[in-house]
């Protein structure tokens, strides 16, 4: 069913009785051209672009839980392309361009909202670093504006500008950045892929990867063996476990990141604001809740829940930036599992196993990458080689020395 003003009006007159499920409840077939493991944003986007861009429609997405139960439904929904390194800037900008046309492409309201992303700076050296990043972005055709203190105050008045330790000196603004409704992104990609013939199979956990003479032949699942010409892994947070089924050891540790939502209040924060002197970032959802988060907990975790010290750290940073936040009650808080890679950057590549492809290592920033990640992974799977946009996101870059370390932290996943 095509969604439009007309369909809404027609359904209103029919008492909303005619809506059909957004995607089919597919039964696994015996064999597919491509099996995608992981029904998160990236897996679903990959299936959509495989079908749409490459005409490959005998595709299944296997998800161990339900669609959206992973990070795609747990993140703080920020999208942006304010990256510094030449391997990253064009990729994330392509993602933002895809976001800009996504709702028309999917015929689904993903609530993409370009309300701006503002990174605050609090010292002269930080201003220099942000000016450099802004210039790099502009050279790559990405929008960036360096704001002084007054311009920041005009945009977001309710910050503590005169904090004795961290006075706000200004900020780097990307107006085209913003937020998107995370669940709707998963549902929109699922529906669009399903429409082109992709089978979305929920409650189907992959438990083994079958290979013959170094070539993948299919996957063992809780719903039986499913044959495949090619297999793409998009299992954010669980990549090491799934790749180990094919004998691979990855440059990845699993860590937990927490997020928080306050009770709803009237409009308070315009766009996304990040604190430059502590681990804190905040935006406001359309319902009015303040959505915020901070740093990862910092040690290996598959617990999908975090610990109190990080909550305290986020709360302290929040109070340093926006003291008024202390008057709000917290409504919910949760954690998600992320693949923290050794250089803080992702992997979209072939693997040493023929026909097995890997999409992993998204750290805490993979939501914004969802469209471009799916687009590039689909290309890589369809053509057996990476697209120039993901050519640097190689699995072997740690051996060749071509690491992509935005933070310059080294092989320390908990510091990226």
């Amino acid at each position: 069913m095509h969604y439009s003003i007309l369909s809404i009006l027609t359904q209103a007159l029919r008492g909303q009785q005619g809506w059909t499920p957004a995607w089919r409840e597919a039964e696994p077939q015996r064999h597919y051209d491509v099996v995608i493991v992981g029904g998160g944003g990236h897996g679903l986007a990959t299936a959509h672009y495989l079908a749409k861009e490459h005409g490959i429609t005998r595709v299944a997405v296997l998800e161990k839980g339900y669609i959206g139960s992973g990070n795609v439904g747990r993140n703080t929904t920020i999208i942006r392309s304010n990256y510094l390194l030449p391997e990253n800037t064009p990729f994330y900008e392509w993602s933002l361009k895809l976001w800009e046309g996504l709702e028309r492409d999917l015929n689904y309201n993903a609530m993409v909202s370009q309300r701006g992303v503002l990174n605050l700076f609090h010292s002269d050296s930080q201003r220099d670093a942000f000016a450099r990043r802004g210039n790099t972005m502009r050279l790559a055709g990405v929008d960036a504006e360096l704001l002084d203190r007054d311009a920041v105050r005009a945009l977001v008045p309710r910050l503590d500008f005169d904090n004795a330790r961290f006075p706000i000196q200004g900020g780097l603004l990307q107006r085209r950045g913003g937020t998107a409704r995370h669940d709707a992104v998963a549902w929109g990609f699922a529906r669009a892929a399903d429409k082109r013939g992709v089978d979305i199979i929920q409650n189907c956990e992959v438990t083994g990867i079958r290979t013959t003479e170094g070539r993948v032949t299919g996957v063992e699942t809780t719903r039986g063996f499913i044959g495949a010409g090619k297999v793409g892994l998009a299992c954010a947070g669980n990549s090491s476990r799934v790749a180990a089924m094919a004998g691979l050891r990855l440059p990845i540790e699993s860590h937990v990141l927490q997020a928080f939502v306050s009770e709803a209040v009237k409009p308070l924060v315009k766009g996304v604001v990040t604190f430059g002197a502590g681990h804190f970032y905040v935006s406001q959802s359309d319902k009015g809740g303040l959505v915020f988060g901070g740093d990862i907990d910092g040690y290996n975790s598959y617990a999908q829940r975090g610990n109190l010290p990080t909550i305290e750290d986020v709360a302290e940073s929040a109070m340093a930036l926006m003291p008024g936040l202390g008057r709000l009650r917290l409504l919910r808080h949760w954690g998600g599992l992320m693949d923290m890679s050794m250089d803080g950057s992702p992997i979209i590549d072939r693997t040493p196993v023929q026909g097995l492809f890997l999409n992993a290592g998204w750290c805490y920033g993979g939501f914004k990458a969802t469209p471009a990640s799916g687009w590039c992974f689909a290309w890589t799977i369809a053509k057996d080689e990476p697209h120039p946009l993901n050519a640097a996101f190689r699995l072997d870059r740690f051996a060749t020395g071509h690491v992509i370390d935005e933070k310059g932290a080294g092989a320390q996943p908990n510091l990226h």
């Binding site: 669980n238 050891r249 990845i252 040690y299 290996n300 598959y302 617990a303 050794m342 740690f398």
Partner: protein
Amino acid sequence: MRIPCPFCGERGVSEFSYRGDATLQRPDAGSENALAAFVDYVHLRDNPAGRHREFWQHTGGCRAWLVVVRDVRTHAIEQVSAARGLSQTVDVQMVEV
């Protein structure tokens, strides 16, 4: 999460700094395949979903390096001991906590 330091007793996790996987063996720099071995040592991890043997430093206390065995699915701590002298051996006798 609380970690029982063998020297200071049980303390909140915010007193400790995480120092990563303690099962890794530093390769012999003189060996034939040293380069490849170091690439693996620096970058590749088992990253198991279960018992994990890892280094913590009691930075907000006695500053000792510890080897902790923790279930990363539950944060339950099974064993803790001083890292000194046992970091390079896999089958070490550890203090049950």
